[in-house]
């Protein structure tokens, strides 16, 4: 498949994306409406994402556990906003073991309800708190318009659910997690994200505060890339999660929940990739380096493969994730295209001339063509390649940051706002009323992304209605 060209991003961004996901071998359409199969290459990428996050969660005192996939329908009724938010999206099991069930069960769309039920059972005293549990798995939401990784009926994620003895501690937890998410995006995914608070209408169903990280895609639309919610006592009251405090008084817990899902893979594609295919940040790439030995005659093969095998072993020994492409049924050109489509950060080319000269060619994926190609000595190749991987990682983040900053506008009035959000973001004062938010949504198809924690010192006036406003918000069209 990899020999086929993608449409360019400029020609048809949506189609470029869909074809790239398939041709880079990340995922495939499943024979179930709106679902995907995450193929081994895509899953290896997801494993690199999850193992970083899992390590960070554990380092901050969190533990993993597993709650049932099926949730009694009545559980959703217990929190009014939650049921309104999720009831329309549920997949419902009505039959089990050949018989109709007395109470239908929902395939979990998220697990606040069933985890809340268990926490109520487990928590007795302040000594049992905090509970800091993460569940890794998948959830189902009956989406009407689906797109691989970005919006699928079933998707993969972790969901953190914590219960605390006090409001401050719960809010701190929400922010602590958002910081981990931010660090993941900057350090690992090379995606510059903006942390902030969601508006009331954009909040998670049942939350008192929803915070998010927002990223700008290549088409300048926004993608909510992770969320962290503070519920106050909403779920604790709905599920009776109570504890005896140190003076033996019964209190309700304060809870949080938070998630990053497999849509972060979609974000990585839409931020970094190009018309040749996938571009992956080296820290997350399942394969960081591919070696392509180049030869025609048999005597060339012997010499080239000797060097290629040695280089392979040397680089592998330094912990680099590396692959040897010694296929003989396809041309070198085919291999180059193939690995470019799959986004391998560095390609090492070794031909008969390189053997003679004691050198190899290094081609960096983030700068295709001659510009990104250098010839380096075989001696000391391990540090040259490690250095290049670090440079690529930094370069991807820099490029994405510059791109984002160049496309965030400060429109002078509402008319200009409506224009700029067609091809960028607006960062504007907003009175935080639902009316003004709805107006922008209806007239410009842009939503409030978040109210960033970092705000200018000054105050201003709402870009929509002109009323005095304390904080600026990002408006953007979003996925």
């Amino acid at each position: 498949m990899a020999e086929d060209k993608l449409p360019t991003r400029t020609e048809d961004f949506a189609e470029w994306y869909n074809q790239l996901v398939l041709k880079a071998d990340l995922a495939d359409y499943a024979p179930v409406r709106g679902c995907m199969v995450v193929k081994p290459y895509g899953w290896a990428l997801w494993e690199n994402i999850t193992s970083w996050l899992d390590r960070e969660f554990k380092a901050t005192g969190h533990v993993n556990a597993a709650f049932p996939t099926l949730i009694p329908m009545s559980f959703f009724e217990k929190e009014k906003e939650h049921v309104e938010g999720f009831a329309p999206e549920l997949a419902v099991v009505t039959h089990g073991g050949g018989e109709e069930l007395e109470e239908p069960l929902a395939v979990r769309p998220t697990s606040e309800t069933i985890i809340g039920h268990m926490y109520a059972k487990w928590v007795k005293s302040w000594r049992d708190l905090p509970i800091l549990i993460v569940q890794w798995g998948s959830v189902l939401r009956w989406e009407l318009r689906t797109k691989l990784f970005l919006r699928t009926t079933e998707f993969y994620w972790h969901e953190g659910h914590t219960a605390h003895a006090g409001a401050d501690e719960a809010r701190e937890e929400m922010y602590r997690i958002l910081d981990i998410y931010e660090r993941f995006c900057y350090e690992e995914a090379a995606i510059p994200v903006i942390k902030g608070t969601k508006s009331e209408t954009e909040r998670f169903a049942g939350a008192q505060v929803t915070t998010s990280i927002e990223a700008m895609m290549w088409d300048k639309r926004a993608l909510q890339s992770g969320t962290s919610h503070y519920f106050g006592q909403n779920f604790a009251k709905a599920f009776e999660i109570q504890y005896l405090d140190s003076s033996n008084k019964l209190q309700f817990c304060e809870t949080t929940s938070w998630a990053i899902s497999s849509r972060i893979i979609g974000a990585m594609i839409m931020v970094h990739s190009d018309d040749q295919g996938l571009v992956l940040p080296p820290r997350l790439a399942p394969v960081q380096v591919v070696i392509v030995p180049i030869f025609k005659k048999d005597d060339e093969k012997v010499k080239v493969m000797e060097v290629a095998d040695r280089v392979f072993k040397e680089l592998k020994a330094t912990g680099i994730r590396i692959k040897m492409d010694d296929r003989e049924n396809v041309s070198s050109g085919f291999k180059f295209n193939d690995w470019e489509m799959r986004g391998i950060p560095v390609r090492v080319e070794i031909g008969p001339k390189d053997v003679e000269k004691g050198s190899v060619a290094l081609a960096r994926r983030d700068r295709p063509g001659k510009e990104g190609k250098t010839f380096v000595p075989q001696a000391g190749l391990d540090s040259a390649v490690s250095g290049l991987l670090t440079e690529i990682q930094a370069s991807l983040l820099k490029r994405a940051t510059e791109y984002r900053d160049a496309n965030i506008h400060d429109p002078k009035d509402y008319e200009e706002l409506k224009k700029v959000v067609q091809d960028g973001w607006a960062f504007s004062y907003w009175c935080e009323s639902r009316e003004c938010e709805t107006k922008v949504k209806e007239e410009a198809k842009a939503t409030t992304r978040n109210i960033p924690f970092n705000q200018p010192d000054t105050e201003g006036t709402c870009i929509v209605c002109g009323k005095p406003s304390k904080r600026k918000v990002y408006f953007a069209r979003a996925y």
Copy 2:
């Protein structure tokens, strides 16, 4: 909870098991019929199991991927034996997004069908083979009689699904995996298992050959602890998984599937644990060592904690999974019982006298009481503890092996067979007819476990009907 006593194994083995799972904090009953919540301690144990297996699968060329949780009902119809085996156990989604579905979807009970469907799409040529994919996750089977870890409606597992160009290669894969399972049980779980072939009636629905590893529990019942199946071309024909061979001829693939599930945790409990609670093999224990500092007065506390903190750091630095129990609201006796219930392999006790003498007390969980307690110098404690962990691991396997071997009988006739399987296993010649198998099942409640690969050189006569028989089989009552 840990201060409560368990019933003894002799008094009530089933109740001992149920209470142990709850009190050792491994799992809890879920508010969904037959489902469990795997609590953080149980999940940490499962993570140690899965990470060993995952490493071995990857080392033998397997990759992970994810297929949908929901499977169209029509897929099950495609393989006749498969639908007969699984249709009665399905949980069925009939509604999604508020509407009745045109075709109901089953929550996966196992994924041969949907994975077969995808393989048919992916495989074109012999160059695409073999496909060696593993999926980690959970599946649902509507079980009527459930028991935590051993038999729950939803359970956790990996399922490997491979497709090959030839029958020999597929059979080799089946055996390669069974060897990995065997090695896992011996080296990690300290459970001596017997590898062999299942009888026709005990085969997986749709398989041509099912191989298993079988373990003996403390109550001498057998537990099938892992299975590896060879399907021949059954699923390839049902789902049209075909490839062009090197002479451009269309051929059907040969496929396998295999699994170990979270019931292996049940096996570890029923093989190793005792009337005080859980006993875990050190290699899989989430916490291998717990330090209990013992003091009464404040000046004692300072001195004891100084040593305890130093010992903690030293042991942790060597990679030992360690926990400090410095709770001040409970007694040392409570702590001892608590950690014994949770099966921590080694307890390090440090009191004021130990501080004076420069020693600590080591208590090994597999030998409770004075017998398992030694006093060792603080100097060189890291190697003493590492050595003890290794010794405990070996000792658990030895004890379980001796116990198993002492309880496998060679009955002289059918009457004796019926007796011995009430409190042990029988290893007897069997003619491999369904009639004799059914007779034993009906009259002695024992099933054939497997026909082991290692057979005596001689032949014999069927223990049931007296006909000449080539191979011996294990008969046992089983979970």
